[in-house]
C-alpha cells in the first residue's frame, strides 16, 4: 500500500544531543514505575547525551537541574518522561526558552496519567510500558525541529454571552479595567436568574 513500510530517515541538520529526564513525581510515578531502571536503560539510545531520574522535574530545583544540564552538556533536545503534556508541557517549554533553546524541541512521555496511575498493580508491566513510551519519545525527539511563533495583532475587546450575575460581573471587571465589552443577553433585560431572587444567602440581602 502507499507509504507502507516507509523507511524512517533521520534527516536533521544538527546531531541530536538529547537530555532524558524520568520524573518520579514523588510516589505518583516512582511507586509503580522503576524510574531509575528506565533512565538507565535508555541512556545508550542513539542520540541520548544524558539520562537521569529526578524527584520532581517541575519543581524549582528540578527545573534548575535541567537548565544546568542543558548548558553543561550542550543539549539540543529534551525528553521529559513525567506527567501529561496537557499539564506541564508549557512549564517545560518555558525551561527550554529560559535556557536559550527553541521550546518546540521538547517531547514528553506521559508516565503518570497514562502509565503509573492506570497500571497501579502491575509495576513490571508499567515499567516495560514506560520504557517503550520513553523510547518512542526519544525517536520523536531526534526528529523535532525548532519552530518559530508568530506575533499577530489582537482585538482588545471581549464578547460576554449571557447577562446574568456572572456575565454582569465579568463585563464590569473587564470594562473597569479599560477593555471594551459587548454583552449579549437573550432576554429583554439583564439580571438572569438572580434577579428573581429576593434575599440571598449568606448575607440575606437583596440580590439586585
Amino acid at each position: 500500500m502507499e507509504g507502507a513500510n516507509v523507511k524512517t530517515t533521520y534527516d536533521i541538520k544538527e546531531l541530536p544531543r538529547i537530555g532524558v529526564y524520568v520524573c518520579h513525581c514523588g510516589l505518583n510515578i516512582g511507586r509503580t514505575v522503576d524510574c531509575e531502571k528506565v533512565a538507565e536503560s535508555v541512556s545508550s539510545e542513539n542520540g541520548v547525551a544524558i539520562s537521569k531520574h529526578i524527584g520532581y522535574a517541575c519543581s524549582e530545583p528540578g527545573q534548575q537541574q535541567i537548565k544546568t544540564d542543558i548548558k553543561e552538556h550542550n543539549l539540543n533536545r529534551i525528553v521529559m518522561a513525567s506527567c501529561s503534556p496537557r499539564l506541564h508541557e508549557a512549564t517545560f517549554r518555558q525551561v527550554l526558552k529560559e535556557s536559550g533553546l527553541n521550546p518546540f524541541i521538547l517531547e514528553m512521555a506521559n508516565l503518570r496519567e497514562q502509565c503509573s496511575w492506570v497500571h497501579i498493580n502491575e509495576p513490571e508491566e508499567a515499567t516495560k510500558k514506560a520504557l517503550d513510551l520513553v523510547r518512542m519519545a526519544i525517536s520523536r525527539a531526534r526528529l523535532l525541529e525548532p519552530l518559530q511563533e508568530e506575533t499577530l495583532s489582537l482585538t482588545k475587546r471581549t464578547l460576554v454571552i449571557g447577562g446574568g450575575v456572572a456575565g454582569i460581573q465579568a463585563a464590569l471587571d473587564l470594562a473597569d479595567n479599560g477593555f471594551d465589552v459587548v454583552l449579549v443577553e437573550k432576554r429583554p433585560s439583564i439580571g438572569g436568574g438572580m434577579a428573581q431572587l429576593d434575599k440571598t444567602f449568606p448575607t440575606m440581602d437583596c440580590s439586585i
Partner: protein
C-alpha cells in the same frame, strides 16, 4: 445591574443571540441577531402609560405565571435597560386599525411597529461564556403531585411568592384559598442526586436556598410549622453552617428522608408519606403547602453554543473546563472562558468569583495587544504539489488556497490554520508537512513501538483534545486497563494518515485504534468527518486484501469519558488476543507484496 447600563465601556445588546462565531483567539468575528423591541430603548422613560391601556393580558414569566402582564410590558421594575418591550406575537397592534392604543398614549413616540430584527457584526479578541442554567421541571416526578395539586410549588415559584416585589408584595399565601398556610414542607433534591429521574449531580444551591426560605418564613411568621425533607444538608460554604443552625434553632424540623407519595385532602392540604431514615419507620405529615427544591440543569442554548465555538461538555451537559484545578475558567479553546452556572451549578458568590477570574484571564490574554500564534501549522512543498485541490477541500478553516484549473500550487494561510493536520493526511502526493507532527516524526514513534514483540502491543492514536484527554482522565480517576496499550498523540484524529496504519500493520501490529472527539464535538470544526471516511476507506481495502477489517478500530472518546477509554482499551485487548502470529505474518506478507 444599573452600572452595566451606563458604563461607557459596555455595549449592551438585549433580546440578542450570537448566531455565528468565526476566526480564532485574538480575532473572533461574531454575528449577533438583535430582535426588535418595538420600543425605542433610549427614549422610553418607563412611565408605564402604554401598559395601562394595553388590552392583552398574559401570564407574567418573571413571576412564573403567578401574576399577569400586558403585551407591552417592563420585564421587572429594576430591568436594565429600563425600556418597555412588546411581545409581538401577543400584540394586536401590528395593524394600527385594530388596536395601537399604546401608540396613542406614548407622549414621546417611542413605539414603532416597523422596527425590525438587526444583524450585528462584532470583532472581539476573547469570549466569556456565561449562559447560565435552566431550572429543573418537576412534572416527571409525579409522586410529588406538582401538576396535580395547586399547593405544590417549585422553590422558584415560592421565591416569587415571598418576594416583596412579587405578586403578593411578599404576603405569604396559599395559591388555592389565598390564606396564610399554617404549615409548609420543603422537599430537597428534586431533580438532583437521583439516578432515576432528573440528574445525578448535586445542584449545589438548593439546600441553602431552602434554609434561607425557612429563615425568611420564621422571621415574618414565627408560628408557621416548617418541615424539610432531605437526603443530606450540604451547608459547606462560609457562613452556611451558621444559617442552617439558626434555622434549626428557630424550630424548623429537618426530617431525613424523601417522601414517597403526596396526596391531597378535602381542604386541598397535602398528606406526605415519608420514610424517616434517622429514626426508622414511616412518618405521615399533613401540610398546607409543599415546596419542591428544584435543581439546575444545563441551559438550552448550551448545545448550540458548544457546536458553534467547538467546546466540550461534561456528561452532565455543562461546559467542560480545560483543567478542573489549574484552569477552572478556561475552555480548551484558547481565548474562550467560562463564568457562572454554564460551567456547573453554583451559587451567586461562586458565580461572581468565577466571573472575576474569567475577566482576569481574558485581560491576561489581551493586555499586550498582540498574540503569539501556535507554529503548529501545515506547510506545502510547492514542488511536490500537483494542485489537485484535495487539501483545500478538507480544510475546516478554509486556510488553504489552490487554483486547480490554473495549476497553481496550494498555499497555507498560517494565521487561519489551526493545525489539525487533516490536509497532510489527505494529500495524495505527500506534498504537505504538518509541523511538529510530521510523517517522519509519527512513523518513528510507530517504528520504535513495534520494534520488539509487536504482537503483544496495542497501537492507539489519540487526538489531543478529546481522546488523549480522556486517557488522562482515566488516569486521574485511577481506572485500570491493560498495560500493553501505547498511545501516539496527534492534535486531531484527522491527522492520522492512511500510511501510519499500513505502516503499523506492516511492522506487525496486531490491532490499531484511531480515536478522536465525537462527531459534532471536533475541536477542528469537522475534521473528524475525514477521519471517519479514511478509516472506512482503509476497512474496504483491508477486506479486499483478505485482512480482517476489525483489526482497525475507530472510537470516539471525549475528554470526560475516562470510563469509555478504559472500556475501549479492554475491548482492544480482547480483540488483540484473537489475532494469531500466523495472521500477523500473513498480513505482513500481503502488505509487502502489495508494496512491490
Amino acid at each position: 445591574m444599573t452600572d452595566v447600563g451606563r458604563h461607557p465601556g459596555i455595549k449592551l445588546l438585549t433580546m440578542s443571540e450570537v448566531t455565528d462565531v468565526k476566526g480564532y483567539v485574538g480575532n473572533f468575528d461574531v454575528s449577533i441577531l438583535k430582535r426588535a423591541r418595538y420600543v425605542n430603548e433610549k427614549e422610553c422613560t418607563a412611565c408605564g402609560e402604554c401598559s395601562k391601556v394595553c388590552p392583552v393580558i398574559r401570564p407574567d414569566e418573571f413571576n412564573l405565571g403567578l401574576s399577569s402582564r400586558r403585551a407591552i410590558y417592563s420585564p421587572f421594575p429594576q430591568a436594565v435597560p429600563s425600556a418597555y418591550v412588546i411581545n409581538i406575537g401577543e400584540c394586536l397592534g401590528h395593524n394600527p386599525v385594530v388596536c395601537a392604543k399604546c401608540v396613542e398614549v406614548c407622549d414621546k413616540g417611542c413605539i414603532n411597529f416597523r422596527m425590525s430584527d438587526e444583524e450585528i457584526q462584532e470583532k472581539v479578541g476573547s469570549i466569556i461564556v456565561a449562559t447560565g442554567m435552566d431550572v429543573y421541571d418537576p412534572t416527571e416526578l409525579d409522586e410529588y403531585g406538582y401538576t396535580r395539586f395547586e399547593n405544590v410549588l417549585t422553590s422558584l415559584e415560592f421565591e416569587r411568592l415571598i418576594n416583596a416585589g412579587g405578586p403578593t408584595s411578599g404576603e405569604l399565601i396559599r395559591p388555592t384559598d389565598r390564606k396564610r398556610p399554617s404549615s409548609i414542607g420543603f422537599i430537597q433534591c428534586v431533580g438532583s442526586r437521583s439516578a432515576r429521574k432528573g440528574s445525578q449531580y448535586c445542584s449545589n444551591v438548593c439546600c441553602m436556598n431552602t434554609v434561607k426560605s425557612t429563615l425568611m418564613i420564621k422571621e415574618h411568621y414565627p408560628d408557621i410549622d416548617i418541615k424539610v425533607f432531605y437526603i443530606d444538608i450540604r451547608a459547606f460554604g462560609k457562613g452556611f453552617e451558621d444559617l442552617y443552625k439558626r434555622s434549626r434553632r428557630l424550630g424548623v424540623q429537618y426530617v431525613r428522608g424523601l417522601p414517597g407519595t403526596v396526596e391531597q385532602d378535602e381542604n386541598r392540604s397535602l398528606r406526605v408519606a415519608v420514610e424517616n431514615t434517622s429514626k426508622g419507620g414511616l412518618d405521615i405529615y399533613n401540610l398546607d403547602m409543599l415546596v419542591l427544591a428544584v435543581g439546575m440543569k444545563p441551559s438550552l442554548s448550551t448545545q448550540r453554543l458548544q457546536e458553534m465555538l467547538g467546546l466540550q461538555l461534561t456528561p452532565d451537559g455543562f461546559f467542560l473546563e480545560a483543567h478542573p484545578k489549574l484552569q477552572p475558567v478556561d475552555a480548551a479553546t484558547r481565548g474562550i472562558f467560562f463564568a457562572g452556572c454554564a460551567e456547573s451549578p453554583k451559587d451567586i458568590k461562586e458565580s461572581v468569583t468565577q466571573a472575576s477570574a474569567a475577566a482576569a484571564r481574558a485581560i491576561r490574554l489581551m493586555h499586550k495587544g498582540e498574540i503569539t500564534t501556535d507554529p503548529i501549522t501545515s506547510e506545502v512543498n510547492q514542488e511536490l504539489c500537483k494542485s489537485c485541490g484535495k487539501c483545500a477541500e478538507v480544510c475546516p478553516y478554509n486556510a488553504i488556497t489552490v487554483e486547480v484549473k490554473k495549476k497553481v500550487p496550494a498555499v497555507v494561510n498560517t494565521a487561519a490554520c489551526a493545525g489539525c493536520g487533516t490536509c497532510a493526511a489527505e494529500c495524495p502526493f505527500d506534498a504537505i508537512t504538518m509541523n511538529h507532527f510530521t510523517d517522519q516524526q509519527i512513523l518513528s514513534q510507530v517504528e520504535t513501538l513495534l520494534e520488539d514483540n509487536p504482537q503483544e502491543k496495542i497501537l492507539a492514536f489519540a487526538c489531543n483534545w478529546c481522546s488523549y484527554a480522556g486517557a488522562d482522565y482515566a488516569g486521574v480517576s485511577r481506572l485500570q486497563y491493560p498495560p500493553n496499550v501505547r498511545l501516539i498523540r496527534t492534535m486531531c484524529s484527522g491527522r492520522v494518515d492512511e500510511k501510519f496504519i499500513w505502516d503499523g500493520f506492516t511492522k506487525g501490529a496486531p490491532v490499531i485504534l484511531v480515536s478522536g472527539c465525537h462527531i459534532g464535538d471536533c475541536h477542528y470544526i469537522n475534521a473528524n468527518h475525514w477521519t471517519e471516511k479514511r478509516v472506512e476507506k482503509v476497512h474496504r481495502k483491508m477486506t479486499k486484501l483478505g485482512l480482517r477489517p476489525e483489526r482497525l478500530q475507530l472510537e470516539w472518546i471525549s475528554a470526560a469519558e475516562g470510563i469509555r477509554f478504559q472500556e475501549t482499551m479492554k475491548r482492544m485487548e480482547e480483540l488483540r488476543k484473537t489475532v494469531t502470529a500466523e495472521e500477523i505474518a500473513h498480513t505482513i506478507k500481503t502488505l509487502k507484496s502489495q508494496k512491490k
